[in-house]
Symmetry: C3
Subunit: 299 residues, 3 copies
């Protein structure tokens, strides 16, 4: 009778392990989808565990644009559950001294990436629980040392897949590092009496609107309401690119065609637009860490 119970338990465990919800493996790169590079990464991950659930943020990060890689992770990660493993490969420094790391956030998600600024917003928003360097002696596709090494495939996808499927624990990734990632410096949103400062993380490219990182709450500390005229200054690398006045408007139609306005966008951040035209094109505004915004209320 006892033998039966043992068997029962074994079967139960077997069944249960098969049904165990697995961590998702979510990829992001600047490789594009015109060739097989992403498919090579997924093939390696499938080789680690054919039951892995794989997804993509985007593979169309502009080439070498670490800032956008960081920003897309920030926008996407909060909608994935704890234990999700993100593999982000935008790696202009491949072959140089940058660290290959796995970050565990305070929310329990993992980010496998070169530590080159990609983790800037994730570390800020989700917090650094622990940072580990990938030990490539262990966590590297067997045979990949013999030929050309494609780190995205041989190290990042391979390590991410092993972590997501429980082949290795987080501890087995490699040695623990100081819990501090390489961060891109940029103008944080902040209020000082009389003005708010911020950055342009990304453009609303389809319409040419300017999105800032200044949220509605901070902006409202200026004591503004709909109709208030504000003065806006936009700099790039400390050079003034734009200065002008515009109303805080509820909707585009509140100003005449061709006139500028400040509005709150769909992410609840301050944005600038021109009614029926492109603010970005007309004033040659782009996005990234070097862009700085200052808004003052006109008395």
């Amino acid at each position: 009778m006892k033998k039966f119970f043992v068997l029962f338990i074994a079967i139960l465990l077997l069944c249960t392990s098969q049904g165990r919800p697995q961590a998702a493996l979510v990829f992001q790169t600047d490789f594009g989808l015109k060739d097989g590079a992403v498919a090579c990464m997924k093939g390696v991950a499938f080789g680690v565990n054919p039951n892995l659930k794989m997804f993509d943020v985007t593979h169309e990060i502009p080439a070498y644009n670490i800032w956008e890689a960081a920003y897309q992770l920030k926008q996407t990660a909060p909608y994935w559950p704890p234990a999700t493993v993100f593999v982000s490969v935008v790696d202009p420094g491949v072959g140089t001294e940058r660290n290959s790391v796995v970050l565990k956030t305070k929310t329990g998600q993992y980010f496998v990436t070169p530590d080159n600024g990609t983790l800037t917003f994730i570390a800020e928003d989700l917090g650094v629980d622990e940072l580990r360097q990938i030990d490539e002696k262990v966590n590297r596709l067997a045979g990949s040392e013999k030929s050309y090494t494609f780190h995205g495939r041989d190290v990042y996808a391979y390590t991410g897949a092993r972590l997501a499927s429980g082949v290795i624990s987080f501890q087995q990734v490699g040695p623990r590092l100081e819990p501090k990632v390489v961060s891109i410096s940029y103008e944080k949103a902040r209020f000082e009496p009389g003005a708010v400062w911020g950055n342009i993380p990304i453009l609303d490219a389809q319409y040419g609107n300017i999105w800032t990182n200044i949220d509605e709450m901070i902006f409202k500390k200026l004591g503004v309401e709909y109709g208030t005229i504000v003065s806006v200054q936009i700099k790039n690398e400390k050079r003034v690119i734009y200065t002008g006045k515009m109303p805080f408007a509820r909707a585009f139609g509140d100003v005449s065609v061709g006139q500028p306005l400040l509005y709150i966008n769909s992410l609840l951040n301050v944005s600038f637009a021109i009614n029926q035209d492109s603010f970005a094109k007309i004033h040659q505004i782009s996005s990234g860490p070097s862009w700085q915004v200052k808004i003052e209320k006109i008395k």
Copy 2:
């Protein structure tokens, strides 16, 4: 002994439930793949059920083009099994009074979408079994009311994922509506003695050929055969854009280079082309509900 049988049955059910074929969740949007918007939707769905099988029709529907969203669903849905849940988000009216609905077709598939015309062809081709309004008090990602609402993510992906994985039944989507979707009006393919009428649902963009919704059977009611000369009129919003004569040809080579022809395309519909040139470009023809075609046999 009886205890054992109970245990057996329990284990069997457990095993079987894990192997239960699950409904696919198939996404379509006009978001593009350059940012993380689609990945946010999939993250929410994965949070509902990590074993969900997710696929995509396309995310490159031209921005706000409900007509093309409707057309791509028509072309794709018949190749997916019953119980498949489609989530289509092309939503120029987000924030306005359009209904968020789930349509169950007579073929047993589900379509989760704003009811803004996206269901035009699905309702026509597959039939409306039942239409329900999404009750956002229940079927909305927890916490998403507090901040900016992205309906594709917080309502449509969430509801689709719950429906596909059996967390909610179709009845639990929300209240039943009149079984009538918002339909885009367009010229249906029809024969009247002496002429056939129809619409241009989409262009064969790569070659500039004009595809109509007039199938071979309807066209042949004109009493045509290969070589018959027909007169073709194409209108947009009632304005005549093109009139001309061309033969009903078996192949492009049946006419000289630069000459027009009428042929039957790969979907078995009437199409217009110019041998080795672009009919669409030369005659400025586009596609959509406002385009009307009339073909007459020349006596």
Copy 3:
């Protein structure tokens, strides 16, 4: 007691079969992702087996470009495990006499495709274990004969899905053919005293560098070292497009801006570049089977 054991075994098999690692089904086409064509293929495969694991190499092979289809398979397949089933549909000859085949490589992978040159590199690199013609009387989506046939969907995706999920064995694909695929002829990399010959399989499009199929080992038979000046001739269809001299350089910076160099690329093959400019654009070089490269060491 015996009854119990029988039951145990049955349950065990059931559980195990659910957990059985399944072959991946990996798609490649020139259909693009703007419409539902790829989704139709996946819908058919899902109908065969909802538990199939589906992936993509790329769907952006340039239209009808069999050479690039062949090349992307070559680059990707080695990173997928044995038993993986690839479905590649770049099929300019649809409707003509080309065979629909499944190739089993000596490495145990399967390739489902029109036999039109797509298998050129796979056959060379991985070896032909067995080649079978798809018997469309058996291996074709039911009902698809009645209307327009889309081979990628009705034959290739359907057969690939049945093979990957074990619905049919490789033998049941159809009759065995001579183990010889249609191959695109091109200049193989080879050394003869005084010169090496090769082909341009693909460009490094982003930078305009020229990639050859001549690997470092073959090139070094010329007795070159960094700094050695070589003479390079590039022909297309036997017409000389470029002749010039350049050094074998370690890095781009070893030559002045605007000067040409020969270097070893990330795949460990000989490549040509111009420092801070596009070799391909300036000298009008493209890629494909008709391109031939000859390199000589200057005494």
